[in-house]
Amino acid sequence: MIERYSLQPSNFNPETPKELVILSIIAQSFFQPFSLEDNLLVILTALTAGSGIGFNRAMLFLNDGMKLKAATWLGPRSPEEAEAIWTMLSSPGIGYAEIVAYNRDLVTKMVRDIQPRLKSLVYDLESRTLPLPAMAAVNKEIILVTEAQNEPAVDPNFINFIKVDSFLCLPLVAQDEILGEIVVDKGITHAPIEAKDIELARLCALLAGNYIYTTNLYKKVVEMEKMAALGEMAAFVSHQLRNPIVAIGGFTTQMLSSPCQPERCRRNLNIIQEQVKHLEDIIYKLSHFLKNTIRELKPVDARPILLNLVERPDIKLKAAKKTISLKIPENLPLIQCDQVYFEEAVVNLLDNALDVTPDGGKVYLRARPYNDKYVMIIIKDSGPGLDEKSRDKLFSPFYTTKENGTGLGLLFVKRIIDTCNGKLEVQSKPGRGTMFKLYFKIQERG
């Protein structure tokens, strides 16, 4: 016998301990697209919900590198507002998404009221003597403050702001890095902060710290990827531009250094002109590649595009001594992409296929529905095919086998397909030609 349970936390029965309910709502973040803002919002809500951990208000500080700055303050401004939030949170079926939707609105409203004042709460982390609340973050310890008015370690400006006598400082730390702090209080109920409140709050702070840490890490990775791409770009510029420049310089020097025969001079000038054209082509393609992206996916009728494509003069010229075998069914479903970019992707591959197919050879262009989810476009050549090594290099930037290639064409194709949430498959063997299979998602009706 087997029993099945959903991976996603669902509704709880009334006897479930409130701690478990809170944590499972927080855990729902794993099923959402990652958003630091939303995740922190849910944690702050969990901390401040009356039916939850029992604090009323939570203030989030973030470390911007040198300073700890107040970023958000969540919580009701009055017992009435508190009552409304508690009612909302105790209604059945409430989850992560509902909390985010509700609180985003609340935060926007609150922030407008208090944002200017919140900005005044800034603590320099490098300073030698730091008052509370910042001291907790720097010391990486949870600090409970009671009778704040009589406590010299507390920043008077902060007490003046939150207007409570007792609050809990929760440092947000991950991998020994100070990422921020959450300060919670019971400013509405004025109940004492108890040991069990602190236990659950500690768990929330650990999670919040990890969310921030993950986000920072992700930003770093993106930055590193950009740098790597930049490095590759520099290698490309140095290689692709250097060849024509060397040729232009070399043939010019040749003409200048010895008496130039008219015939030789003319030949050299022709070569120079060709190289300049090649440079222009590289620059055009490069700027085209860098600038253009698909902004919005739209339904695209692939059939007329594919049929028109083989009538294009540039394609016809290339296909003059070859055959393009075309099979596109009439009732091909609409796909999700962008008309111009879809055509560009197919033209790129068709152009390559014609290039490598010998005179008298055949290039195949096919389209058909695949798996109810995709439309599959096939472009197959009768060229020499690729060995494993060349196949692996196929999509690396600036890899080319063409005399005047830029090595950007296939990369551009891949980017178009990725943006359209499609898939790309390559099958090739030496002597057997190369087949590209493009899968585009079918646009659902309505």
């Binding site: 290698a235 692709q240 060849n243 060397v246 040729a247 020097t253 040749q254």
Partner: protein, 117 residues
């Protein structure tokens, strides 16, 4: 006359090098890819090989490894647009690494140093 095998996939550049080096009194044989270069190495003796790194099919590094399997004694100059591999050329068993330039003086000087004229 010393015989040099030049491997360069760029047609304009291979023509430039061929003419300039012939002018210096060398006999030049040109190949546009690694496979045809290896075919030539199997068939005829050469005093020097000049090769690019990035080429369609086998690249220059692979070509050098293959040449080493056939003829260990031929000096090899890498002549490329890439600056980034400059530190590695010794490990590929090449004798010199020259970054392509419109002035062929450095290349000519290196050839002279390796095989005289």
């Amino acid at each position: 006359m010393k015989k040099i095998l030049l491997i360069e996939d760029d047609l304009a550049l291979s023509l430039l090098y061929e003419e300039e080096l012939k002018n210096e009194g060398y006999s030049i044989v040109v190949a546009h890819d690694a496979d045809s270069a290896l075919e030539l190495v199997r068939k005829e003796p050469f005093d020097l090989i000049i090769t690019d790194i990035r080429m369609p099919g086998k690249d220059g590094i692979e070509l050098i490894a293959n040449v080493m399997g056939l003829r260990k004694d031929i000096p090899i100059i890498i002549n490329t647009a890439y600056q980034s591999y400059k530190d590695d050329f010794m490990t590929w068993a090449a004798d010199a690494y020259i970054i392509k330039s419109s002035s062929l003086d450095e290349l000519k000087a290196k050839i002279k140093e390796l095989i005289g004229n």
